[in-house]
Structures are given as C-alpha cells and as structure tokens.
C-alpha cells in the first residue's frame, strides 16, 4: 500500500475526515475516475550520476520525470530547496523521515551511468514515504544517451502506473500538422514529436497541403491526406525512411480521412465521387477497395473499434452530422448520438469503452466523450473551435486542435483528461493541428 493521501480525498465519504487519519488506513492509490482534488506531493531529487559523463543527464532525466508526472495534474513536485537531505548514493538506505518531514508522499530516486560508447543506463526506485517502504522493486532501463528523454519517460511511466494503476503513456509520440504563415496563406507540413512536444522531426515539406495524419498501431507508418497531385488523396508514409506512396488515385475522385485497422493491415477512408462522399476500406496487401456505405449523404471520419469488428463514423443522413456505428464490413448502421447540435470526428478509445468526438452546438465547439451506445455524453472542453480528438495510448487523456478566432487565428494542440480536468496546451514551435497519438513505444 502506498499513496493513500489522494485516494482519500477522492472518496466523498472520507473527505470529511482528517487527512492524517486516512493516511494510516487508505489504499495507496490515485483513483483517477473519482476526480482527484489534491495532487499527490512527490520528491524527485536529481538522479545520482555514476560517472562524470552522466552528470548533466542525471539532472535532466529527473527533471523530465517530474515534468511528466506534474503534467498529469495528479502529482505535485516538492521544490528541491525544501529538501532536508540529498540522495548521493542509489544503493544507500534513504532517510525517509527527512522526506516525511516535507510531506513527500512519494520519493523517486535514480542513478544514471553513461558509457563512452553512447549507451545509457538508468535505474530508479519509488518509495511510499509514509508507509516506509519501496513501492514495487527497482527497475533498470538501458538505452542510448541520445534517447535519454525516452528513458526518463519510461521511469515516469513506471511511477505513474504503480501509483494510479493505469496503463502508461509518456513514452509515446504524436504526429501532427505543423503550421506556419498567416491564416490567409498557411503552410502545412507533417511533423512528429514526443508526446510532450520535444524532439520534433518534419516529415514533409510545405509545398502542398497535408491534413489529418494517423499513426499505425505499431507506430512505424502514417496515413495522411495530401494535395500533391492537386487533389486530396490518401498517402502512406514510412516513418523511418520518410518514403511515401499514394494509396488511392482513381481519376475524378478525392480521398481523405484515412485510418488504420487495429492490426494495421486495413485502411478505412472516405472517397468522394460525383460530389458524394462514402466510406470504403482497402487492404494494404492489395485487392479492390470495398465500399462500406452507399448513401447520398456525407459519410466520413471512420474509426475502427479496438477489436476491429466495428467502425464508428459521422453522417449527415438525418439532416445534420451525427455519429453512427456499423460492422467493419458495412451494413445497416445504428445511430448513437442524439443530443442537440452536430457531432463529428468520432474516435474509438483504445480501451474500447468510450468514443471521443467533436460537437458543435450554439456556435461553440466541444471535445466530448460518450459510451459506445451513446449514453453518458460528457463535454470536456468548449471554445471557438476545438476539433479532432486523439487518444493517449492508455485511453485516459485526449489531445485535440484548438483554433482561435479572427484574422489572426492560430491553431495549437491541447490535451485534457477524460474527466475534463487538466486542460493544457501542448508546447509546439509554431502553429499545430490534427494530432494523432502513437501507441506506447517498445
């Protein structure tokens, strides 16, 4: 048992009781669904450098671990100048009383060793300070010095998972559209970055419009819509080689809004012919595309269920944009959205339990979630223009595009917890739109 403090606050019946009493009894967890009120205080002293070459990395890694945790809104870092004792050796016993005295509920210690061959080894331990014991056993990660941020994310992922019981998500990337130039002459190109905005790499130039990239389930390929031919067409891009190929190039048609199936073998997308937009699927190993919808209305923005058997999409067959679910082989869809307003860009959660969407109502845009039967709709955000949600690999956090209004309007990326808390901007160099979160890296 460990971090009881937060869990206590989370449970309403406990909230009336003094926190110190609950600290003795509660299970040591942050239970996110219950809506944490008070972030859990933790200490993350600089990791111990086991050789001189590791000195800077030891400080940097501890800093990124702390940033990952505080970025969730569930944790609060205790400033280093409050520390009573320092961690100078990874193997010596820690003075838990010193950390208890500054009310650190969790203590993260680590050690970093940098080889002359460019290798990097990171070890860490997580302590439940008030329980007076280690939480889980120490872990060691081996990687490269160039990839030190990933090592930090792995440490933070392990801490996050042990304390919240949730699957990790920090060691992940996001592909998005990087934007430059004024609203009337916007240049767009594909870029990929770490989930926290670091390590940006550009994948295309800005010579033609690119839209709405989507990561493959293994994170090695990207689907997107590009205007390279003068007409919107769907492309497949290999992340390592940056090589790209057009997937759908039937003359007289447009294709867009592609997304992978969970096994990465199939693509669902929209094809427009004669002004009418329907949903198709194609196998990446070849063969004729299969038409999944056949209606005079607009059918677009398809997204597979995690088991690959169903597809959620938007259609205006009722007169306005609404959400529908159909078999992954087509057939009669069932409508799941019934509230006032318009619903678009549905995305199935990686856990399978929720569908995130964009909602337009009374001149405002919202990101929301609902259950797959359409019940329990919750709007998480509101602004002049929010759209295009994408799920963190653990299904707990949603990233999306927010655009400001007016002639100086700009797009940026935001993230929000599915409880609606912790709305924040994701730092990018310039404008950014259309994020797609990768799976957790291996």
């Amino acid at each position: 048992m460990i971090l009881r403090y937060l869990t206590l606050l989370a449970a309403l019946w406990i909230m009336a009781m003094p926190a110190t009493v609950q600290a003795q009894n509660g299970p040591l967890r942050i239970t996110i669904d219950e809506g944490v009120i008070e972030p859990l205080p933790f200490a993350s002293p600089d990791f111990v450098a086991e050789n001189t070459a590791a000195t800077q990395l030891a400080a940097d890694i501890a800093r990124v671990v702390a940033a990952d945790l505080t970025g969730t809104g569930l944790f609060r870092e205790i400033p280093k100048d409050a520390f009573i004792s320092q961690i100078t050796s990874f193997s010596s016993p820690v003075q838990l009383a010193d950390w208890r005295a500054i009310n650190a509920q969790a203590l993260i210690t680590g050690a970093v060793s940098a080889g002359s061959d460019g290798r990097l080894t990171v070890k860490f331990r997580l302590y439940d300070v008030f329980a007076g014991q280690e939480l889980g056993s120490g872990l060691q990660f081996d990687g490269t010095q160039a990839g030190w941020r990933r090592m930090a994310h792995k440490v933070a992922d392990a801490v996050y998972s042990r304390i919240t019981g949730e699957a990790p998500y920090f060691d992940s990337r996001v592909v998005f559209v990087a934007e430059t130039g004024p609203k009337g002459d916007r240049k767009k190109r594909l870029a990929v970055m770490d989930y926290d905005g670091a390590n940006v790499q550009y994948l295309t130039d800005s010579s033609s419009i690119v839209l709405a990239p989507r990561f493959s389930p293994s994170g090695d390929r990207i689907l997107y819509t590009g205007y390279e031919t003068g007409f919107p067409k769907i492309y497949l891009l290999d992340v390592a080689s940056v090589g790209r190929q057009v997937l759908e190039n039937q003359p007289g048609t447009m294709s867009f809004s592609p997304r992978f199936s969970p096994d990465g073998q199939t693509v669902v997308y929209s094809l427009t012919q004669g002004g009418n937009t329907d949903i198709y699927r194609m196998s990446l190993s070849g063969g004729a595309p299969q038409r999944l919808t056949s209606a005079p209305s607009i059918e677009t923005a398809p997204s597979f269920s995690p088991d690959g058997t169903q597809v959620v999409f938007e259609s205006d067959r009722s007169g306005t944009q609404q959400l529908y679910i159909m078999s992954a082989n087509g057939g009669e869809p069932r409508r799941i959205s019934f509230g006032p307003g318009r619903y678009g860009t549905p995305v199935w959660s990686p856990r399978g339990d929720l569908i995130a969407f964009t909602k337009q109502s009374k001149g405002r845009f919202h990101i929301g979630v609902m259950r797959t039967d359409g019940s329990e709709e919750r709007l998480l955000t509101a602004s002049f223009l929010d759209e295009g949600p994408t799920w963190a690999p653990n299904g707990r956090v949603i990233m999306f595009t927010r655009e400001t209004q007016g002639a100086g309007g700009e797009s940026s990326l935001y993230s929000v917890d599915i409880t609606g808390r912790n709305l924040k901007r994701v730092r990018t160099e310039g404008g950014a739109s259309d994020p797609s979160w990768s799976p957790l890296q291996n």
Binding site: P182, K183, G184, D185, R186, I209, L211, A212, G230, F231, P232, P251, G252, M254, F256, S257, S270, T272, G274, G275, N276, T277, I298, T300, A301, E314, D316, Q321, G344, T345, T358, Q360, F384, L385, E387, G388, E403, Q405, G406, A407, G409, D434
Partner: protein, 172 residues
C-alpha cells in the same frame, strides 16, 4: 489564334494575375493589370478582351456563393453559371477546375465533403447548360483556403464558395 499561342498567353496572364491578386485562389475583383489604360483598344488577354481568363474572372464572374451548410445553387448563382457556361462554350480551348470551399465553422473532414458537394453542384449545372463534362474537374479545399479571414458571417459568406478556375487546354 493557335492553341499554343493561347496556352502561352494564358500561362503568362495567370502568372501575372497570381502576382497581382491578393486573393490567390481564383482572385477577387481588385485585379487591375493596367494593360489597356487610355487607348480603348482591346488588348488581347486583358480584362476587356472577352476571350481572356481575366474577363471570365471579372466580368463573367468566376465564383458563386452558398448558404450555411448548403450546396444548393441560388438564382443569383445560376445566373453567374449561365454566363460561365456561355463563355466556356465560346472558348473551347479552356478546361476548368471547380474548387469547392467551406467556411471555418465545421470539422475538417465534413468541410472537405461539403466543398465537394458545392463544386459538384457547379459542375452539374455547367454540364446541364451544355459544357462537356470532360472539360471540368472538381476539387474540394474544405476550410483550408479562406479568402476572407475574419470570424464573422460577413467573411464566412464569401468563403462558402465554388470558384471556376480556368486552365489551358487538353482534357484528360
């Protein structure tokens, strides 16, 4: 005029228009080449040459506007398209790409599909007035290419458009 001459001329006129015109995507009415000032004579390729793309853009009208979330052609739009059809019938060397656009009040994918509906409505109308379908292609830009930048209905109304952009010759 031979096809080649016309194609070359068209290219240069379009290039000039692209440099002059702040609304890059098919232009507005503010283009003024100044090529015909004073003389009153018709300078080939200028805005007062009825066979020129500039004349098409400025005098015939290269665009029609739509109501919110609609692709229905208004009577005003039909009148403009009647003029476009007549011009295209008389100037058979040209093909056209019809660009469909939406305002920013909508999701990206839906607006792509909506722009396609608008472009298609224009194409179908021109074909119904006798223009060969093989001379017309359609493309949607969704909300990617606003010409008016404010976030008010005054701007949105001009962005909900389909623009007939002339191209030189050859059907494919």
């Amino acid at each position: 005029m031979t096809y080649l001459t016309r194609a070359v001329m068209l290219t240069s006129v379009l290039a000039l228009a692209a440099c002059t015109n702040p609304g890059r995507f098919g232009g507005g009415n503010e283009v003024n080449l100044g090529a015909n000032s004073g003389s009153g004579a018709i300078v080939p390729g200028s805005a007062n040459d009825p066979a020129s793309p500039l004349y098409f853009q400025q005098s015939v009208g290269d665009r029609v506007l739509f109501a919110v979330d609609q692709s229905t052609l208004t009577p005003e739009a039909q009148a403009v398209l009647d003029g476009q059809a007549a011009w295209l019938m008389q100037n058979a060397d040209y093909t056209a790409v019809i660009e469909g656009h939406a305002d920013e009040q909508g999701t990206r994918e839906y607006n792509l599909a909506l722009g396609a509906r608008r472009a298609n409505a224009v194409q179908e109308y021109l074909v119904s007035r006798g223009v060969a379908g093989s001379r017309l292609r359609v493309v949607s830009y969704g909300k990617e290419r606003p010409i008016e930048l404010c976030s008010d209905e005054a701007c949105y109304a001009k962005n909900r458009r389909a623009v007939t952009v002339l191209a030189a010759g050859l059907t494919s």
